[in-house]
């Protein structure tokens, strides 16, 4: 929803089950909803041989590559409608069918051509499209609507054009407008507060955020210097489109771990329970469990070095909240968000503190088992879910508590709507939360991680094998 910067819009979900419920009862996804503001700006996924790293794509694991449409964002839009745990359409042709009977069919045809939706759908199409994907009745068939070859081609074209239309919307100023305090500052129309200015300096200095969340500048000032230069980029996206394993702990709250038995339609989202490990980009490169097919066989070799890597999100709108709940941070009144791919972090203060102290307070425990006398997320960070490829740029940045707060201030300055109101941001009808502290926000909902079984063979025994092995 716009009021959450197109992050998860329901505070209680963000606080607890992390993954959002799908349209079929009791099904839910496995990761947080990645913000799609500015996602049309992400390039097609590629492997840079000089850098030795992947860049681009959409989604935490990069599985929306943009290979086919040359737009990762357009392909990202195509995933949720046919994802078994989201909208669960059983056939991509259902999108064409639903467009063909929609009120706005003329609008689609005005753009993509008269007759573009003239497809001879069989009489059982509506019934098929009402049956959620993954249902045993389909027997694994991804195209249960019986279309002629010509109509299948047309339906595929409609599906692709529909994805591109969504991407055009996301590229518009309704979604990605560059109207934050940071944008105003880059234009010279806004002077940072003292905390924001300090945060901006930390962002590209001691905090080293700028090494991944590129801010368009490279200037590092020494004490007493004044930056009088022109920014290298006046519309920075605050991401290098790159991937990193930050070493986050497994979050046992994630609803995905509990979808272990067949639902009413005979579909089991996660047969492995807590044997599942989220290897992110690594699993995608292997075309592994729960990921889309990797379109480039030459990339498979890079899977072991990519295990645990997740896409570096833009910081833009990470702090966006409904106007009536003006912050993400306790004591508020605040709007509860969730951060990173598994929603383990519940406030921006915790997020910055994690970057700053992950390696200062490490404990060889899982979440919910921090030693007595410590406080999880304050002076105890449980072990990483995927340790082998952890990024060591962060983890002990030697920032003070005040400096952490200043970095939070500059993250908040990246919220659109400062120079021009952000469209449709006032539709939240729920309650703000109050009380507590940002450092321990959400800790009351922590649960003890059960004893973890070994990583399931369907995840960790797929060649090329993870190195070192995933516990």
């Amino acid at each position: 929803m716009p009021y959450a910067g197109f992050n998860g819009p329901i505070p209680s979900v963000n606080l607890t089950m992390v993954a959002y419920p799908g349209s079929y009862h009791y099904r839910a996804g496995k990761r947080t909803a990645q913000r799609y503001t500015y996602s049309p700006y992400f390039p097609v996924l590629s492997y840079d041989t000089t850098q030795g790293a992947f860049f681009g794509g959409n989604f935490w694991d990069g599985r929306s590559t943009g290979y086919l449409l040359q737009s990762p964002d357009a392909e990202q839009a195509q995933h949720p409608p046919v994802d078994t745990q989201e909208m669960a359409n059983p056939d991509t042709a259902c999108i064409a069918y639903k467009l063909s009977v929609a009120k706005y069919r003329p609008l689609f045809e005005a753009i993509w051509g008269a007759g573009s939706l003239d497809i001879q759908f069989p009489a059982d199409t509506a019934d098929i499209c009402k049956t959620p994907a993954g249902a045993a009745i389909f027997g694994g068939n991804a195209t249960p609507i019986a279309l002629s070859p010509d109509d299948r081609t047309k339906a595929n074209d409609v599906f692709n054009h529909w994805g591109q239309s969504i991407s055009f919307l996301e590229h518009s100023t309704d979604i990605s407008p560059f109207t934050s305090k940071i944008d105003a500052n880059l234009k010279g129309n806004y002077t940072y507060t003292a905390d924001e200015a300090a945060g901006a300096a930390l962002f590209r200095g001691k905090g080293n955020c700028n090494s991944c969340h590129l801010d368009g500048t490279t200037t590092t000032l020494t004490p007493g210097q004044t930056d009088t230069g022109t920014p290298a980029n006046t519309t920075p996206l605050f991401t290098g489109f790159c991937y990193a394993d930050l070493g986050l702990p497994l979050n046992p709250r994630d609803a995905f771990y509990y979808q272990t038995v067949p639902d009413g339609l005979g579909f089991t989202p996660n047969p492995y329970g807590f044997g599942y490990r989220d290897l992110g980009l690594g699993t995608f490169l292997r075309s592994g469990f729960g990921a889309a097919p990797n379109p480039n066989s030459e990339w498979v070799q890079f899977a072991p070095g990519s295990d645990g890597l997740m896409q570096t999100s833009t910081i833009r709108n990470v702090a966006m909240t409904p106007p009536q709940c003006p912050t993400t941070e306790a004591p508020g009144p605040y709007f509860q968000k969730e951060f990173f791919h598994n929603g383990y972090i519940k406030s921006l203060k915790q997020l910055v503190h994690f970057y700053n102290t992950r390696d200062v307070y490490p404990f060889n425990v899982t979440s919910g088992h921090c030693p007595e006398g410590t406080t999880e997320k304050v002076d105890c960070w449980p072990m990483p879910e995927v340790p082998g490829n952890m990024d060591m740029t962060i983890g002990n940045l030697l920032m003070t508590d005040e400096e952490e707060n200043q970095v939070v201030a500059i993250l908040q300055a990246a919220t659109d709507g400062f120079t021009t109101p952000y469209p449709f941001s006032d539709t939240f009808t729920g309650q703000c939360l109050t009380g507590g502290s940002a450092s321990t926000q959400g800790n009351e909902t922590l649960i003890a991680t059960p004893e973890l079984p070994p990583c399931a063979s369907a995840v960790c025994d797929v060649p090329p094998l993870p190195s070192p092995p995933i516990p």
Binding site: A53, R204, C242
Partner: protein
């Protein structure tokens, strides 16, 4: 706007975006001609079975993706094991902190090591430390040489 015009617009727009994006993510920073260690490697922290080493060099520039690499072992003349960690280079910084995590260590054991760094493609930065050493603590104890400031 007819379909063809829209498609052409889309193609041009996407092409333009790619140019901007690629330029942004591949900042043209020439690799430094020489890299020097300006703070020698030492132990940042250690548990009975893991350690983090930390050192500072002049910024190598070149590829943003880098690896901090340590060769180590219990015999100073046979550093047979290797650990490496991802580190992102910030080309705007004059110096770069490298940190590497070593797992699978034995408690109360002295390890000898030397460090180096490479670009993301494995190309050496051409800098290597002398052989140094650290000792892991007993089970249940921790060493923290870089405590969190208040």
């Amino acid at each position: 706007m007819n379909k063809l015009t829209l498609k052409l617009s889309v193609t041009a727009m996407v092409g333009g975006l790619l140019c901007v994006s690629l330029a942004q993510m591949l900042s043209p920073t020439a690799k430094a001609q020489s890299v020097a260690i300006i703070q020698q490697p030492n132990l940042e922290s250690a548990h009975d079975d893991a350690a983090i080493l930390r050192w500072t060099t002049t910024t190598p520039r070149g590829s943003a993706e880098h690896f901090a690499v340590v060769q180590y072992g219990t015999n100073p003349n046979a550093l047979t094991q290797t650990a490496k960690s991802h580190v992102r280079i910030n080309s705007g910084h004059s110096d770069t902190i490298f940190r590497v995590r070593i797992d699978g260590l034995q408690p109360q054991t002295t390890y000898y090591y030397k460090v180096t760094s490479t670009g993301g493609d494995g190309t050496s930065d051409g800098v290597e430390s002398d052989v140094n050493q650290f000792t892991t603590p007993p089970p249940g104890q921790r060493i923290m040489n870089y405590p969190q400031p208040k």
